[in-house]
């Protein structure tokens, strides 16, 4: 993440004299097929992934949780309608939805971000609606309503504090999924276009050279694996915290 501060090279700067180099003092992680610094490119790819994960998690959290609480509150027809919409979106595999969106404007970060946010918000909707309904049905909320408190208060004191742990878990899983999804569509060449440094795209670009330079192909894979694993562990850790309450 700190790469731009440390090194002057850019993601795209090529050096065709030094292609597929092994790691050296100058190039700590070696160079790729165009002689570009792997270190710089990995750092840029990682930054891009985190940006996307962060953005889409925040967006989907707001959309998904908002709709879920709205549906749990209104019940009746509104809930049925929203359920129908969400269920039909859920019937599509998430990746197909992202591919569809990405195909509309190929190589657009915004489209990928939108698509991933929509896919992630489905999960929020499902989980949060179920727990919100239980909370809204509880005697605690009923007594708060009898005492004259309004919806904002119930949201502040009852819903959000109780939903917070699940929101955190969902967000950690969501971030892992978002990173994986972007890498997957990069891998099938529908996502961002070269020369952007993106983990999935790097994997597919380095794929032809795996016999000459296996260490290069390993790098984005290891990074992807580590990031997704840590996010999942983070989510899992929080799950234990919920169980132990």
């Amino acid at each position: 993440m700190t790469q731009p501060v440390i090194q002057q090279q850019t993601v795209g700067s090529q050096d065709l004299n030094k292609i597929l180099n092994t790691p050296s003092f100058e190039q700590p992680l070696g160079t790729d097929q165009y002689g570009r610094s792997m270190y710089v490119r990995l750092a840029a790819g990682l930054r891009l992934s985190f940006w996307l994960a962060g953005l889409s998690v925040v967006t989907s959290c707001i959309i998904g949780t908002g709709l879920a609480i709205f549906a749990a509150w209104c019940r009746g027809r509104t809930e049925t309608l929203l359920d129908a919409l969400i269920n039909s979106l859920m019937a599509l595999p998430g990746l197909i939805l992202v591919l569809l969106f990405a195909a509309v404007i190929p190589g657009s970060f915004v489209m990928i971000y939108l698509a991933i946010s929509i896919v992630l918000s489905l999960e929020y909707y499902r989980v949060i609606k179920a727990s919100s309904k239980a909370i809204l049905n509880s005697p605690a909320v009923e007594s708060s309503q009898l005492l004259g408190f309004n919806h904002v208060y119930i949201l502040k004191r009852h819903l959000l504090p109780e939903l917070k742990p699940s929101l955190f878990t969902l967000s950690a899983y969501g971030a892992a999924n978002a990173i994986l999804m972007m890498a997957s569509i990069g891998f099938v060449y529908v996502g961002l276009k070269p020369p952007t440094a993106e983990l999935g795209l790097m994997i597919v670009e380095l794929f032809p050279y795996y016999e000459e330079a296996p260490w290069l192909l390993c790098q984005p894979l290891v990074v992807l694996f580590t990031v997704v694993l840590s996010l999942n562990l983070l989510a899992g850790k929080n799950n234990h915290a919920i169980e132990n309450r």
């Binding site: 009923e142 009898l146 004259g148 208060y153 004191r157």
Partner: protein
């Protein structure tokens, strides 16, 4: 079957590092020494928070890991170390069985009643499918649960769930049975049915009953173990303990069962606050209430009684306006504002938002209704609540304290009508008496109408101005 418990002591692991020796640490419970057998059942009596349930957990090997237990359990000469939880757990089903405190939570919510009993036959008694299901039907019939065969736990009332759990634990004919608060939250008829069953089982099994119900413990006979704040106060024949001169502690418990002392104010205004006519309430095609008439007047106590599942709570919700009647008319007098009908709930732990200090919750109420916070503090003093309790959240307060906080929060709004829905069923006798006194005194002081929904009616019958007995509505199929 002979059981003997020696020097059972439970310590909490707090301050483990600072104090090296077990004997230096404060014991939560014990040391307890007692024995019981199939000839002589033992009843454990004590206040809420005396450590009764810890005893059950220690014997079952289910104590929380941050608690340390020492002592031994001897079953027919075999000695078990209570600290070895694994060994105790190996006894489950075959030798040792527990009726848990909240049977509702113990049942599998995804399985029908009958199949939960069949499981015991299949996996504990190793019966084949047919024998197990035949036996399960017999069990259900003896506990008059035949209608529930194909029902899921959420479709059962508290009493039914209790009986079903009892059927499950008793069908393996386990020689040792621990019953944790078997009569808690049950109405009189349900307790009666359960008692018959317990009496029947006690002829075959060694029974350890944990309760705060004095009537039940007198009827069970055998020996009585009294625990006060974790210490063994007495262990002797029940009859002997109940004959004079009694222990002061027991005396205090007995006094609490007598009706509360209230000085009724006369000459109070007899204005009608709420009227309900020909109320009918049905939900998903099933009529729960039919032709109910009710009038609430100032300074009047109304008792709603009936067996569990008859719709008492539903009527309470109709009075509060939380549910709407399917048919009939509900009219509220103009002097009763929208916020002046309040409800007190059965489960005091369920009415406060979790994880938030009570002080914050009370400040919220004060801010919303422009009440000075000092009136909260005054109220707390009246209700004998310590100021320091305000800093805690609901998880670190006892049921009795929380119920008083719930009362206080409702009293702040000066309601004209209070619906108290089984407010005392989760509390021991001393606490429930206090709560009732507070409610009734408020009602007379403020000229409010009080509706008490209860199945523990002896205490209230003498005080009620009108009694509404609900009977089950017959549904035509």
């Amino acid at each position: 079957m002979q059981l003997k418990i020696d020097k059972l002591t439970i310590y909490s692991d707090e301050n483990l590092t600072t104090r090296a020796h077990l004997s230096d640490r404060r014991a939560l419970l014990g040391p307890l020494n007692f024995s019981f057998s199939d000839q002589e059942p033992v009843t454990v009596l004590g206040h809420t928070g005396a450590g009764k349930s810890l005893l059950a957990q220690a014997l079952m090997g289910t104590l929380a890991v941050n608690l340390t237990v020492t002592g031994t359990l001897t079953i027919n000469g075999r000695i078990f170390d209570l600290a070895d939880r694994k060994k105790l757990q190996a006894l489950w089903g075959k030798t040792l069985v527990l009726l848990p405190q909240e049977p509702w939570n113990a049942l599998n919510p995804l399985k029908k009643a009958a199949s939960q009993i069949i499981e015991v036959g299949r996996f504990v008694l190793n019966q084949d499918k047919q024998t197990a299901s035949k036996q399960s039907i017999q069990r259900l019939a003896t506990l008059s649960l035949m209608d529930c065969q194909n029902k899921y736990p959420h479709q059962l009332s508290g009493g039914m769930a209790q009986r079903l759990t009892y059927a499950i634990i008793s069908c393996a004919n386990t020689p040792v049975m621990i019953l944790d608060e078997p009569s808690k939250g049950l109405d009189k008829t349900a307790v009666e049915q359960l008692f018959k069953q317990i009496k029947h089982t006690s002829q075959q099994a060694a029974l350890l009953t944990i309760t705060h119900d004095l009537a039940l413990c007198q009827r069970l006979g055998g020996k009585l173990l009294i625990i006060q704040q974790g210490r063994q106060l007495a262990f002797a024949q029940t009859k002997q303990l109940f004959t004079c001169p009694r222990l002061p502690y027991l005396e205090q418990l007995i006094a609490a069962t007598k009706p509360p002392s209230i000085h009724k104010k006369f000459g109070s205004v007899n204005e009608v606050l709420l009227e309900m006519k020909d109320i009918q309430y049905s939900i998903s095609g099933k009529t729960i209430l039919n032709n109910v008439n009710l009038t609430l007047k100032c300074a009047q106590i109304t008792l709603i009684q009936g067996i569990s599942g008859v719709g008492k709570s539903t009527l309470g919700d109709l009075i509060c306006g939380l549910k709407r009647p399917s048919r009939g008319h509900r009219s509220v007098d103009n002097q009763v504002g929208k916020l002046e009908i309040q409800k007190i709930y059965q489960e005091p732990t369920a009415v406060f938002a979790p994880g938030i200090p009570l002080k914050l919750l009370f400040k919220d109420v004060c801010k919303l209704h422009q009440i000075k916070f000092s009136s909260v503090l005054n109220g707390m003093e009246k209700l004998k609540l310590d100021v320091s309790l305000l800093q805690r959240d609901k998880s670190s307060l006892s049921g009795g304290e929380l119920q008083r906080f719930a009362l206080l929060r409702v009293f702040l709004l000066k309601p004209k009508i209070i619906v108290a829905d089984e407010v005392t069923s989760r509390l021991d006798e001393c606490h429930s008496r206090t709560i009732l006194e507070l409610l009734i005194n408020y009602c007379y002081e403020q000229n409010a109408a009080l509706v008490i929904i209860s199945h523990q009616t002896e205490q209230i019958v003498t005080l009620a101005d009108q009694i509404i007995s609900l009977k089950p509505v017959l549904n035509k199929r």
